[in-house]
Structure formats: C-alpha cells, structure tokens
Amino acid sequence: MTLRVQDLHFSYGPRPILEGISFEIERGTLNGLFGPNGSGKTTLFRCFLGLLRIEAGEIALCDHDISRLTVREKARLIGYVPQEHRPPFPYKVKEIVLMGRTPHMNGNFYYLGRNHGAAVAGALETLGILHLADERYDQLSGGQRQLVLIARAMAQQTPILILDEPTSALDFSNQIRIWQILRRLAGQGTTVIACSHDPNHLLWFADRVLALNRGRIVADGPPATVLGEPVLDSFYREACALKELDGTLVVVPRVVAESRVQGEPESHARGSDLVPSPPR
C-alpha cells in the first residue's frame, strides 16, 4: 500500500473537520477526491503533507508512519502541486522546477549535480513546456504556471503525488491534457491523488473516487458507481443529472438536461423569459 489512512480525526478548535477517515490506496492508481466546498478535502491533503498535526488516527506513506518521518524524508515520498500563485521574486521556470529536486540534493550545502538538471529537463519535456524553461515564471499565464508546478512535483520524483485542483486555472483543452498526463504518470507507477470540483473529469479519468462530505467518506469506489445520482444529489441539492452519451457517462446540470428532454431549446426558453409582458 502506498498510502494508508486509518481512523483519521482533525478539528480546528471545537469544530471537527475530519471524523474517522479510513482508506487505503494502491500503487500506480489515479484517485479522485470529490466533495463540495468545506467538505474537508484541503484539510485531508494538508494532513498528508504534514502541514497539519493530526489529532487521532494514523497516516502511512509507503508503510512509513508519517509522524515518524522528517520533513525531508516526507518530501521524498510525497509531492504536492498547489494551486498556481505568483512568488515575490522573478524566478525562471527552470529554477522553480529545480526546487523540486531539493529533497534529493545532498548534504547541508545543497550543491547541484548534473542529474538534477536532467530531471528538470525531463519533467519539462514530459509536459511539453521545455521551451518555457528560460521564461520568468511570474510572467506566465495561470495555466502555464500550473503546468510548471506540476513539472516541479514530477522533478521531485516521489512515489505519491497529490494535486489540489490541478485544472482549476486551465482552459478546456489544457484541463484534458493534465488529466491525460496524470493518467500516464499513474501508468508508470506513481500513485496520484487529485481533488477536483468537476465530476466529469473524475468520471472520465480516475480509477477510483473517494467522495467526502462533512468530514466523512460517504462513498468510495469506481467513478461510475460513486458519482451516481445519490451522491451528486446529496452534494449539490439535486442540481445534477447523470446521462450517458454514446457510452460515455456525463454529469450535466439538471436544468439543461430537463429543458432538452422537453424538446425546448434552452436559448429560446431563456429568450422568452426576457420578453416583457404587454401592459394590461
């Protein structure tokens, strides 16, 4: 097991955030963490990374108890892709990605070896952004910055990779690109855990989905099973419907789905609402 969570509890002051979370994740799988805002996804991630001290329960990374690992040892086991942001200094893309090598740099002096440069180039190449290596990171678009942060985590070469809404800043084609890359990483043996607000991405790309609500795992299993209408209804108050489109499952907003069922084009319906009623 690359990741094992057992009876995890966490609370901010008196307010419980995570209540008895348990699951195990197998090596080389792409796992989606799904849940509405405030469900505890981010808190769970922060517990994995050791950013929060867990109150009760146990997290094991590659069979190592997380509470017994040093910060550096943890950074060799688990890589983290945060949401994109702008640092205060004008680092170049290659320098940002090189920071991913930090846990592998030897000794106290952090001298750089040639292998680090190769790992950086390899990560940039895999993501198809090698041509950005000499650009200033803070001057890139949001989507490019997100790709650079993924490259940094890849250069870290950890068995586990967690991503905090990796596609939230990207346009449609880049969103799909990122999920394909994550699929490929999982195929090469990396254990990937990503949280996403888009149920479709998880339906299409994840091996397994963990649905989190109010600090508990409410469903766990293959995406098509977990992301059924009961879970979607409980998360989004019946806003969504699950449809099948040429054999592919798609989550659609119910308002759109129902207007189509009635054979009424949506634009027409909306247009008629805007026509002012004649004065009486």
């Binding site: 910060v71 890589g79 983290y80 702008r86 640092p87 320098e95 930090t102 440069g117 041509h131 950005l132």
Partner: protein, 364 residues
C-alpha cells in the same frame, strides 16, 4: 491565458522517459564569474578609497607605509603622519565600510527572502530603530548590557519580533501590513530614543546624536574586532542556506512539501540578519536603504537565486558604501554624514522601484 493555448502543443507528448535527452543550462558559471568581477570591483573601490582623502598622499607614499610594516624590512624609517593617516584613519575606515556594506546588504536580502517581500530592509522593518534604541540605552547606562553591541542586537530582535508577529495573519505576513508594522515600530523606537536624548546630559546627548546620524567618522580597529568575525561568519552561514532561502521564498506550505522546515529556517535567518544589523548599527549608527537597493541590484544582475544574490548583494553593498563614504569625506572641506549621502542617492532609486515593482508587491 490565450498565450498558454498557443504555446502548448496539442495532445500529449510521446512516451518519453523522465530523464529526457534535453539539456538545461542554469548559467551558474556566468553568475559565478560576475560575482568574482564584483569582488574585483570592491577591491578596486577599497584601493581608491585608501588613496583619496583631504590630506594629499601619493600612491608611493601610501605604499611606503605598507612596505615599512613588512616584517623583513629592516630600514623601518616611517613617516609618522603618513603612517597614522593610512593605518589609523583610512584603512580601518575602508574596512569598516566594506563590512558595513556586507552586513546591511546581506541583512536586507535575507529579510526580503524570508518575509517574501522585495521592499523590506533593516531600516523599513524598524530593526535599525530598535537597535539604535538598544545602543543608546547602553551609552547612557553602561552597566545595563554587556556592551553596545549586545544592547543593539537585543532591541533589534525585539523590534523584528513585534513587526513579525503583529503583521502575521493566518500564517502569512501580508506585504502592506509588514511595512506598516515596520513604520509603527520604527516611530515607537525613535520616540524612545528621543526620550533618552531629552533626559541625558550634554556629553551623552552629543555622543548619541552623532552616532545615530550614521557615519564612519569614528571607525577604528576596535570596531573591526567586532564587525569582522560577526559579519564574515554570519554571511558564510547565510550563503550556505541560500538555496533553502529560495525554497522558503515560495511560501511555508510549499517549502515544507519540498523538504524544508520553514519555521526553523526562518528563525535562524532572521536571528542572523538581526545580529548583523545590530552589530552594524552599534558601530556606525543608522544607514538607510543600502539593504533595500543592493539586493535588488544584485537580482537585476544575477537573477533571484539566493545562492548568487547573497554574495552579489554583499559585494555591491561594500562597493556602494565605499563610494558613498569616499564622497562623504572628499566632496566638501568638512565631512558629510554617510547616511545623508546614501539617502540622497537612494531616494531616486527607491522612487523608481516603487513605480516599477510596487504594483507587483502590493498587488494594487
């Protein structure tokens, strides 16, 4: 966003291995060469500063004072006046200038990196004001601390702690709050210094006023005895921590996920920077803006990697301070306090920084 779409190739890249065939050049050799050039610049500035002054000494006369001190020179017929000018006035002053430049510029670079804010430095953060209060207390009440340096370091630490904790919200120091807290702490300690001045006798008042004004007029070998070991050892440690400072400047969560303990590293770095600021303030008073300008100039030359910014800023700081001090003592007949020169030269640079970088920092 539109640029991203164009720049990214469509579809996923082929199944290449992680260790790609591509080579990346990090330009470390070029940067190292630039640092060496800066070292040459500092040495040149030190030579010029030693040769210039109100008392006219030729190059040969200066060299002669060096020659007669060599242990194997037998005919040691020394010109007393020349020897005093070079060895008791100019040389210690040049060395103090170099060490003060090293200290202030490096402290500025460290504060900027740890606070993730390129517009802070010892003066803006109120560390200089705190240190000057501690040193004033030590002048007035010599029994209170071990010496001037300890008082300056102690109250510099008090000042930086107040600024750090009062501007920290949800585990982050907002750039605006940080600078406002610095202004508040600065004015508080300046007021406390004013109370000390008000209640002190004439001699002590004179000592405090002259020293706080900031200058190298009293620089002597006894200052170097403190400055040299502290500044050199501190900068060496900070330089070793340079790569970790890069990672820390990405933010605490990311630093931790990259294997760096952010709290511990920041504590060490702030202690070292404050120690250096305290020692410098205790020796030469308050000299503003060097700690802000030099790291910025170093980043323009060498890029933001702290492994190069630290030595680059230190060397630029030394060269700049030597230039300013040489101007201060040769520009007019009497001496102008160094801090006046650095402030007058610094102001236009800072205005330029505010116009060009202010938006990026304050997000306005």
């Amino acid at each position: 966003m539109s640029r991203a779409v164009q720049a990214l190739p469509v579809g996923i890249p082929g199944d290449g291995e992680m260790q790609g065939s591509a080579k990346l050049e990090f330009g470390e050799r070029r940067k190292a060469l630039l640092v060496v050039l800066l070292l040459v610049l500092v040495i040149a500035a030190a030579v010029v500063a030693t040769l210039s002054g109100t008392y006219d000494l030729s190059v040969l006369e200066v060299l002669e004072t060096f020659r007669v001190r060599l242990p194997w020179v037998a005919d040691a017929r020394v010109d007393r006046v020349h020897d005093t000018i070079v060895w008791q006035i100019r040389l210690p002053r040049v060395l103090v200038g170099v060490l003060v430049g090293f200290g202030l510029a490096t402290a500025g670079a460290v504060y900027q990196g740890t606070f993730r804010n390129p517009l802070v430095e010892p003066f803006i953060l109120g560390v200089s004001a705190g240190a000057s209060f501690g040193a004033s207390l030590a002048i007035l009440y010599p029994g209170l601390f071990l010496n001037l340096q300890v008082g300056a370091f102690g109250f510099g630490l008090v000042a930086v702690s107040i600024v750090y904790f009062s501007s920290r919200i949800h585990g982050q120091n907002s750039p605006v709050n940080l600078i406002l807290a610095g202004v508040i702490v600065s004015s508080l300690f300046q007021a406390l210094v004013s109370i000390l001045k008000y209640s002190s006798d004439d001699a002590a008042l004179r000592a405090i006023v002259f020293w706080i004004m900031g200058g190298l007029y009293f620089a002597g070998w006894n200052d170097i005895a403190y400055l040299f070991p502290v500044v050199v050892v501190t900068i060496a440690i900070i330089w070793v921590l340079g790569w970790r400072l890069n990672v820390l400047s990405m933010g605490d969560d990311e630093a931790r996920s990259l294997g760096i303990h952010p709290g511990r590293l920041r504590l060490v770095l702030i202690l070292l920077a404050t120690l250096m600021t305290g020692i410098v303030v205790a020796s030469v008073g308050v000299i503003a803006w060097v700690g802000l300008m030099m790291p910025h100039a170093a980043r323009m030359m060498l890029g933001p990697d702290h492994r190069f910014v630290i030595p680059g800023a230190a060397l630029l700081g030394a060269a700049y301070l030597l230039l300013c001090d040489t101007l201060a003592r040769t520009l007019i007949g009497t001496e102008i306090p160094l801090s006046i020169i650095t402030s007058i030269l610094g102001a236009p640079y800072l205005l330029y920084l505010l116009r060009s970088r202010g938006r990026a920092v304050f997000g306005g």
